[in-house]
Each structure stands twice: as C-alpha cells, then as structure tokens.
Symmetry: C2
Subunit: 685 residues, 2 copies
C-alpha cells in the first residue's frame, strides 16, 4: 500500500510522537470489543486503506500557555517590545502606556494644521450638543461642558485612536438620567443626585479600566451587533421624542421614556404649548435638517452641518436677546456660572447604601459607553489601517472617566457624529481632542454668560437633529436581509426601549445576545452525507439532493467542536439519523444498517464530556448490532480520543482517514456477511 497521501508525513512522524496505529499492531487489540456485526475485520481489508497518525504531542504548560495567550493576549499587544532590550524597553513600555510619546516627537506643522481645523470644527459641534445632553442626564448644562474638557485631555495622553472625539453622548446621557432618577429624584435632592452621578461615573471608569487591565475586553463582544443597532435606534427615537418637551415649550412632562407616556404627555398638555417657542424651535429644526441633507449630498460641504448647530445657537440667542421673547414664554438656559471644572472627589459616595446603587448605574453606563467607544475606534482604525489595542483603549477610557468623576464630569465616551466630523475635517492625531478641550476651556472661562439667552427649544432642535442619525435604517435593512432571527433580536431591543424603558431595552438586548450564544453552542450543525455519483466525495444530502446513500451505512458529519454544552445534543442527533434510517428500512426494506461513519473533519477539538457521549453512543449502537466508525479526525481530536481511552475502546481499525476509505472497508464487510449468511442458508437447505 502507498503511504503517499497519509496524514502525517514521514518527517512529521520523525520529529513528533512515535505512537501511531499501524496495521501491524492490530493483532494486539486484546480487550477491544469485537465488531458487533459478527465478522472480524480481516487484515487484508484493513490493508486497503491508510492508517491515522497522531500529531506531535505538546506538554501541559505549552497547552496552558497557548490557551492563555489566545484568550487574553490574542491581539499580541507586546509586539512592539520585540527587538528592544534594557533601557530601550522601558521607553517602549512608556510609549505603550502613553501613546502620545510615540506621535508627539514626530508631530509637524501639517498635522497641527489638520488637528487645529478638526478640533475647532468638532468644538463648534460639541458645545451646543453638550449643553443639551447634560439635560438628558438631568444635570445642569455646564456639566456637559465640563465633560468635554477634562476627559478629552486625559484621552489624548493615553488613547491610541487618532480619530475618536471624546465627550458626553446622547445615549449614555439618557441611560444615566433614567437610571439615576430611579434612585434619587433630581428635583427633590439636587446635591444628592449630583453626588450619585459622580459616584456612578467613578465606578464606570473603574469597571472600564479593570476590563482593560484584566484583558477581559472581549466581554464587550458579547453584545450582538443586531442588539446594539436595535437598542441605539430605540434610544434615539426615545431621545428625539423627549425633545418635544423643549420644542413645544411644555413644563409638566412625564419622566418616563417610553413613547406611549411621552406622546400622552404631549397631547394632554396642549394647553401648555407655547407658540413663539414652537415657531422658533421648528424654524431652526428645519434649518438644521436642511443643512444636514445638503452636507450629505455635497461631501465637500460636510462642515456646514458641523458648524450649523453653533450658528443656530448664536443667531437664536441674539434674536431672543434683542426681542426679549423670553418674556413671552420662550424658555432660555439662564445663568451659567463661569469657570473651570470644580473638584468633586469629596462628593463621591465612598460609604453607605448609595455606593452600591452608584456602582450599578456605573456598570451599566460604563459598559454601554465602552461598547460605543471601542466600535468607533475600530471603525476609524480600519479606515486608516492602523491598529488599536481594544484592552489598551479600555484603560484609557476608564482612566479618563475616573479623572472625570473627580472633576464634576459625568460619563464621557466617543461620539459617533463628532468623531465622523473630526475624521472628515482631516484630523491627524489625538491632538484634535486637545484643541477641542482648549476651545471648551475658553468657553467655560469667558463665554458661558453669553448662553444666558439661548432658547432651550433650539437646544432641543439640535439634539433631535443629532440623534436622528443614530436610527440606522440601512443597518436594520441589512440585518433583515442577512439573518431573519438576528432581526428579531434587533426588534426586541428596539421595541423594548421604545415601548417600555431604557433598562428593559438593554436587558432584552443582553438576554437575547446571550441566548443566541448559548443556543449556538448547544445546537451545532450536523449533516447526513451521501455520495456524489461518479466521485469519491461525500456531501450534505440536503444541499445536494442527488447524493446517494450507501446501503447499510449511515454517514454523519459533525460541524463544530464537541464540548459538554453540545455533546448530548450531538449524541442524540446522531441516534436520530440512525433511527430515521431504520424507520425507512422498515418501510422500504433493504440491507440492514450495520455501520455508522462519523465524518469529523470540521471538529477542531473535543473534551471529556464528548468522549463520554461517544462512549454512550457506542454502547447504544453496539446493543443494536451497529458498528461505530470515525473518519478524518484532526490531530488534536485523535490525541484526545487516544488519551481518553476511546481509541482502545472502539478499536483502532475503526478510525479511517477519509469517508470514502471507510465506506470501502464497510461495504466489503457488509458484502462478506451477506455471502456468509447465504452460504449458511444454502448449507441448511
């Protein structure tokens, strides 16, 4: 026989483990149960086909090390240390912690120009948005500005994304607003509410940084894309509808966020509608939407939609200041204190029952913020083809929020819309965040009194216009087209947010995401294989209806690693194929079932539970007089089978290199048995 195509070349054997199942040692099978079909496999039959080789073995520590590296250091974060030694290594390490040390020395005029323009453009977008978002979190407008000053500066030191723009965002603001007001009423206990907000921000930062330090960043991957799209869109709709309060000038408004309560609030308070407010608000809303459309159509004028909000704020403020329409019921922001972020370290609850509540809110908003920041970072990194270390980013985001919680900020993260403007304005490095922070600082120090007459309805219009972009209809359509079940996930999160509450929407998103994972791992794909006529290939008979069964043999392919979570299912599923085949035989007649061939090529690894399941399967099949055989195992799987004692239990001769070789052997054995029965019958007659 030719060993040419045998898996495991000669050289590999030479350097690897010597153990292999040779036709020669078949005789020493000893305790292996004899094939239940009643005819022992002749050595000449066995000689027809190839033997299966064991791969070179690896030690316990090698296995452990590889497992840990792939789990926690899959992105090879220390590749930049390679080739450095001694002192250099320290500097590279510092550069790893502070990426600014990497790019600042190479910084030039061209970059500065790009970052300057980008930073000022994003600032003009950020300042009006910040004032509005803070209201979503039930905080004073000034806290929005605070959160656009300290966090971006810290991020510029630590972050590795060149395009992300840091600051408060709509979705996090509303999550914090909704969750915090469940704990403390912001109107009754203003100071307590603020303290709880800083506490939550602190813990959000701690959770974010810890995930990064422990290299558990992959946990954010457990939120499915569909669930995020659904949740974000639902939150955007919720936020947009809540702006009706400001746009219509209503005073008594529901604190619930579901659209039923909001719309009821709108229609039961028609008496409160203030027509000057409505006129002003909708005028600027239409203006903003028109500018956005224009910018979308003419990419060259993208900056129009970026500076439009600040323009609207300036124009409307002047208008109200001149006309004094605030006396006619148009609500204005009013007095904003001047000055840079005050310290808030001592405001954080360090003891007492509110620590736990702050922690809870912090975990939720921190994780959502992280998901958003990481997604933004990755998107722009892909566009410019640089690498982002997800865990490193988490440490940066977490540190900046910890610092933020000590300087009167609430949770900040990357903003989709502002990062896009930053990118389009031609930013080069995180310096654009510094520029933006300086612009915000300037505003804090000198310009806040100018916002006194800024009408709230214009802020509402700015927010409404901003969040509409979060309703990602294209992504929804794509999910619908690609995977209907994913779309149900999306719809669940969407309707959960819109019709119940932010918390329920998030909960639905998380639960559905996890259920998907769990169902996915318990229900691996399997297929019944048949022969493609005229070839030696065996394919899924569902996909290839022409494929034909081999008489007396059931061939099943298993399409996933077999673990405790799916081993029982796999066993049951194989038995079901066998039962179906026997049912069909009972109806149509034919050669009785004598062999099951399992095609294991796609099975990349198995564990002890899988071996257990295979043992049970073997016991069950033996009791029915059916022989289990296994074909095409990869090296790791055959090693586990061997170590788990299953190779000895089943008998080495029942492991085949390929399905077609297995079918060859089994067919000959079936024919022999039939002949023997015939002769037996003839003798008796």
């Amino acid at each position: 026989m030719s060993y040419g195509s045998r898996i495991g070349t000669e050289d590999e054997t030479a350097q690897g483990r010597k153990l292999r199942f040779q036709s020669d040692d078949m005789s020493s099978r000893g305790a292996t149960p004899a094939p239940s079909i009643g005819t022992s496999m002749g050595s000449e039959v066995r000689q027809m086909v190839h033997s299966v080789a064991l791969p070179p073995s690896s030690t316990f520590w090698a296995q452990m090390k590889e497992g840990i590296m792939e789990t926690f250091f899959a992105d090879d974060p220390f590749r930049q240390f390679r080739g450095y030694k001694g002192k250099q290594r320290w500097f590279v390490g510092l550069m790893y912690i502070f990426p600014i040390l990497d790019w600042l020395p190479k910084y030039d005029k061209r970059m500065l120009k790009g970052d300057l323009i980008a930073g000022l453009t994003t600032a003009s977008l950020a300042i009006p948005q910040d004032l509005g978002y803070a209201k979503l979190a039930n905080m004073d407008p000034i806290h929005g500005l605070y959160a656009s000053f300290v966090p971006p500066l810290i991020y510029a030191l630590l972050g590795s994304s060149r395009d992300i723009t840091i600051g408060p965002v709509a979705v996090i603001s509303i999550i914090m607003g909704q969750l915090l007001k469940n704990e403390i009423d912001p109107h009754e206990d203003r100071a307590g509410y603020l303290r709880l907000a800083f506490t939550a921000t602190f813990f959000a930062g701690v959770v974010q940084a810890s995930l990064g330090i422990l290299r558990l960043g992959f946990l954010v991957d457990f939120l499915s894309h569909a669930a995020i799209v659904g949740f974000m869109s639902g939150a955007a709709v919720t936020i947009a509808l809540q702006q009706l309060k400001g746009l219509l000038g209503i005073t008594k408004f529901t604190t619930s966020s579901d659209i039923v309560s909001v719309m009821r609030s709108v229609w039961t308070h028609t008496g409160e509608w203030n027509w000057p407010t409505i006129g002003l608000g909708f005028f600027f809303l239409i203006l903003l939407v028109a500018t956005r459309r224009f910018s979308q159509m003419r990419k060259r004028f993208f900056w129009c939609s970026a500076v439009a909000p600040l323009g609207c704020v300036i124009v409307s403020t002047l208008f109200v200041f001149v006309t004094r329409l605030d006396r006619k019921g148009i609500k204005v922001i009013g007095y904003i204190e001047k000055g840079v972020n005050p310290a808030s370290f001592s405001d954080i609850y360090w003891t007492g029952p509110l620590v736990a509540r702050g922690f809870k809110v912090g975990v939720v908003s921190g994780l959502v913020a992280l998901t958003e920041a990481v997604a933004i970072g990755r998107t722009f990194a892909a566009l410019k083809a640089y690498h982002i270390d997800g865990n490193k980013e988490m440490i940066a985001i977490g540190t900046m929020n910890i610092a933020g919680s000590w300087t009167s900020c609430y949770v900040a993260t990357g903003s989709f819309s502002r990062s896009a403007v930053n990118y389009q304005s031609g930013c080069f490095t995180a310096m654009s965040n510094v520029v933006m922070a300086i612009a915000v600082l300037f505003t804090l120090l000198f310009l806040t009194p100018l916002f006194h007459y800024t009408p709230e309805c214009v802020l509402a219009a700015i927010i409404m216009n901003a969040v509409v972009g979060l309703v990602d209809l294209r992504a929804m359509y794509l999910v619908w087209k690609t995977d209907k079940i994913d779309f149900l996930v999306l719809a669940g999160a969407l309707f959960g947010v819109m019709f119940v509450s932010i918390e329920i929407g998030l909960l639905v998103a998380v639960i559905i995401s996890f259920s998907k994972i769990l169902i996915h791992v318990t229900r691996p794909h399997t297929a019944l294989l048949g022969n493609i006529p005229g070839t030696s290939m065996y394919h899924d008979i569902k996909q290839y209806p022409l494929a034909s069964n081999e008489p007396g043999i059931v061939i099943v392919r298993i399409d996933a690693a077999i673990y405790f979570s799916n081993s029982n299912y796999v066993r049951e599923r194989i038995l079901r194929y066998v039962n179906d085949a026997e049912d069909e035989l009972a109806v149509n007649g034919g050669i009785p079932l004598q062999f099951v061939i399992l095609e294991m090529a796609p099975v990349m690894s198995i564990d002890t539970a899988a071996i257990h399941a295979f043992e049970e399967l073997n016991t069950n099949l033996q009791a029915r007089g059916i022989q289990l055989t296994i074909s095409n195992t990869v090296g790791k799987v055959i090693t586990t089978f061997k170590d788990g004692g299953f190779v000895d239990l089943l008998g080495q001769e029942w492991f085949f290199l390929s399905v077609s070789e297995g079918v060859q052997v089994c067919s000959i054995l079936i024919k022999r048995k039939q002949q023997a029965m015939k002769e037996n019958y003839a003798d008796k007659v």
Copy 2:
C-alpha cells in the same frame, strides 16, 4: 474548462436558485472597488478556475421552523405519533404522557419476577440510607422514608427510564441542609425549617417540570462534566467527613461543611469521643467496606453489598437492644412515629419573604437533582439501547417532587448507587420502583418502632461507605489525561466544596463552566496554511512543519462559525497573521504580500456582525495594498455574504472554489505585476 467537479451540480442548479456568479457577468461589476494590487484580473485568468454556486434558497418561515425544531425539538419527541390518526393519536398521546400505559399491557410474569427481586433489593439498601440522608438535610429520619414512598410511585407512572431508582440522595440532602440552615436554624425553629424545606421542594419540582415543559432541558448541559465530577467528589468527601460526628459520638459539632472546620471540630472535642460508639461504628464500617470490596471482585455477589446495610442495621439494633449500650452513651435513633406520609400542602409558604428564599434553595437543589437524574437515565438507557426523552424525564421528576412537597417529602431524584443495584438485580421496568415503594410503605406502617434502638453510628458508617463511591478517581484521572484545562475546572469545584462550602463549590462549578463556553465561543481556532509539497493540499503549518508558504500570499483557515461573539477576534487574528508575515518580509526580504486567502470550509454560518468584521478587514487590507480573497464557502455562508452585500463589495471574482485555485490565480497576478514592474523599470533605464 470543465465544470465536472464544480460545487453545485447541474441538477441542483436546475431546481435551486438560478443566481450564480458566472465569469460572464464579471464585466458588470460596476461599483466594486478595483483590486488594489493595481492589476485588474484578466478574464482569461478567471476562466482557469471554477465559479461558486449559491444553494437553493429557503424562505423566512422555513428557516425559522428549522431553527425552532433543532433548538427545542432536536430529539424529535413526537416520532411515535407518526402514522397514527384520529382516536389512535389520542391514545398514543396518553402513552407519551404516561409511559406506564405503554409497558403495563405487555407486562408478564418474567418481568414481575425481575422487578420484584430488584425492588426488594433496592429497598433493603434504600431504607437505611434514607434514615441517614434525612439527617444530612437536618430533617427527621422519617422524612427520608417518606421521600422513598410517594416520589417513586409518581415516577413509575410518568417516567420513561426503566432502571432509575428514585429517592433521597446524599448530595441533594447536604445541599438542602446547608442552604436551608442559612435561612432558618433547624434547632431553633423546627416547624419553620420543615415548612421551608417543603417550600423549596415544591419550587424545585416546579422548576424541573417547567424546564421540561418549555423544552429547555438542554440548559442542564451547561454544567460541564469536569465541574460535576469535581463537585460530586468534593461533596462526597465533605459528607464522609461529617459522618465522623456520628462515628465518634461527638455531640457539639460544627455546622460548617468545609473540611478545616470539620477536622477542627473532631480534634477539639476529643473529650466527647465515646469509645463504645467508636468500636461499634468502625466495626460495621470495616464490615461494609469489606463487603463492598468483595462484591466488586466477584460480580456474582453484587447483592451482598446491596443488602449489607440492612443487615448491619438489624444486627446492630438487636445488639444495642440486648446490651442496652445506649445507656453507655451510644446514641440511637429513638422514637419514630408510625404511619404513611402526612399531607404538607398547607405547610408550604405561599406568601411572605420566605417564598423567595424557598424558591432560591429550590432552584439550586432542583437543578442539581435534575443533572443527576438525567445523567443516570441516559447511562442506563445507553446500556440497554432504549431512548429517553430528556425533557419528558424532567416533567416526570418535577411532578414527583411537586407531589412530594405536598406529602412531607424533600427533594428526591435518581440515586446512582441504588440504580446500579436495581440494574444489576435484573429490573425490567419502573415497576421495581413500585415494589420498593410498597416495601417502604410496609416499613412506615409497621416497622418504624423497630428502629428505636438503631445506633446512629451505624447509619454514619452506612453513609460513609455509600458516598465513597461518589469520589470518582477514575473519572478524575481520565479528565487529567484528556484535557489539563478541564482538570483545573474539576479541581476548582472540588476544592471549592471541600475547603469553603457547598454553595461556593457549586458557584465555582457554574462560573467556570460558563466561562469555558464563553471563551470557547470568543476564541475560535484559526490556522495558517501552507502547501504540502507535491500536492495541491493546504494544511496547518503548525501540524505539518514541512508545508511551505506561497510567496506573496497569506492563507488562513477559520475553524468555526463566525458570530458577533467572535467576529472581532477573527478579524484581529487574521490581521495578526498578516502583520507577522510583513514583519518577516521586512527581515528576510521577498515578494511583498499582495493576497490574503481565507479558507472558509469549516465556517458553517456567519451573521451580520461577521460581515461587518469582514468589511473592516477588507478596508484595512485595501489600505495596505493587499487583496482579500475567500475560498471554499458553504452554501449558507455564501448566501449570507451575498445578502449582506459583501459579495458585491469584495467583487465576485475574489471568491474561489478552493485554496489551490485561489493560489493559482493569485500567483499568476503576482507574476504579471512583477513582470510589469520589471518592464517599467527597463523602460525607464
């Protein structure tokens, strides 16, 4: 070109969707970005290789139906309904609910004989064990007997296992004992403790039955085999050590279950050691162990170890009764009331804060009990090759525990040791449970007063002897040999139980099991492929060190379905292979990297997040001047790629039928480009 081996035979195309990517429609690519390598693929190059076909499409509802069937009805529970109509169907349905209707009409004398012997043997083992196990749960001995009467009867009506023996078991007893005493002190509030125990039992039954009815039985598969082995062994050691209290005659004993507290209790109370108790206890312990060893060696005498406990109880009771050693400090069971199970329906807490606590204990003990019962059912079903519907079993177990909670029982389940005795004694059907229940009933009605003088040290010896079998050293060794990381899981659960507490041990087992699943789904296996010299095969270069790289091409195989939970990892991992290849080129020189070929044969499905990741990967590679190509996708994956718009984005010509065809095309393109560069250079010179 020959289409002979093209995936998707002619007939399949005829009946399936007509859509396929022909070389012809390559010209209509339109918006597809041109290959970044700067040389468009000539149609004559494309003609060299095969096209990729789309499989026949299926509708939304067909997809949904298949998904639901595979998830919840994977074991095809309704197969017995096939071929029946009208009234017959009703009867088959009744038979499905009450399997007794299936076997009772066929019941004959031979079966009765087998079940009678098996039932009486298990009863002789069960009665002394029950008395002891009840003490583990801090209940009166009589409750153990109650739980061996009602639940087995109900199970006989509803259960489909023919070999399982129902009753209280050691591990569940200690779990309930430990968890319940955290809520109510059994010595201070005896009645309240009992009521809470019945409440927990009721909810255990409800949870078990609900899992079955909702067909969520697969959830018990989430406890990994290794974690269960570790937990069970740890619990067995804990239980055995706790028996030292009875064996040494100590009165004041710790209520903690960790071995440190227990051993400290033993050595700090040496003054309480009672020598008559120790003598009697250890005498019978040695006797029991010796009998067990004897039975293990001579399989014919397996019944010796089965009846030995009852023998010990009878002999020791007579001995104490005659010698009146109870006056010398040997503790005896004392008075046990006569009579059948009293009703306890009204004892269950239906309102108040204790409902939630009872529920908590019920969920934990119910799930562990279920895991045990299902495992036993499956083991023996495999031995006799009959089928067990896991979800159906859960309904039976749950119903029997609900009934038990109304009749003064605590959680019962299948016992490994008694089921084995039942099987070895030659049981045929669940009738053996009925026989055992009748024997227990007889005991309850007439024999309980006889246990008055039964020494507690003998019960302790019986329990110690029984649980030692749960320490499964062979399974531990097998896990160690098969999978070192699995062994860490096992050790975690084992030490958690032994050194901390039952709850912590369980928690460790559950958390580690889930972490394993989650890590498994986020970190799929990938491999760098190389060409096996002299063939057209491409294999993992780690497994086949001889395999050689193709110049200018990186070939990566992905070995799992790509979902949101692993899509980011997969993208990062592929980029890492590319980075490594570029690093190596930077050192050694060579043809610059121009193509990445992804071998997708093992990828059985992808979702929208995967498409997202591929888009990002493509963007990143394009920015570096590397072309992404994809080979060997299965039907479902290529359909999702198409629906998700990725086929149009990447360009249909970059999908290959196999790696070798991809390499063929890419190599030609690389050579052409080199030639063009040379000519260009020559022209310039």
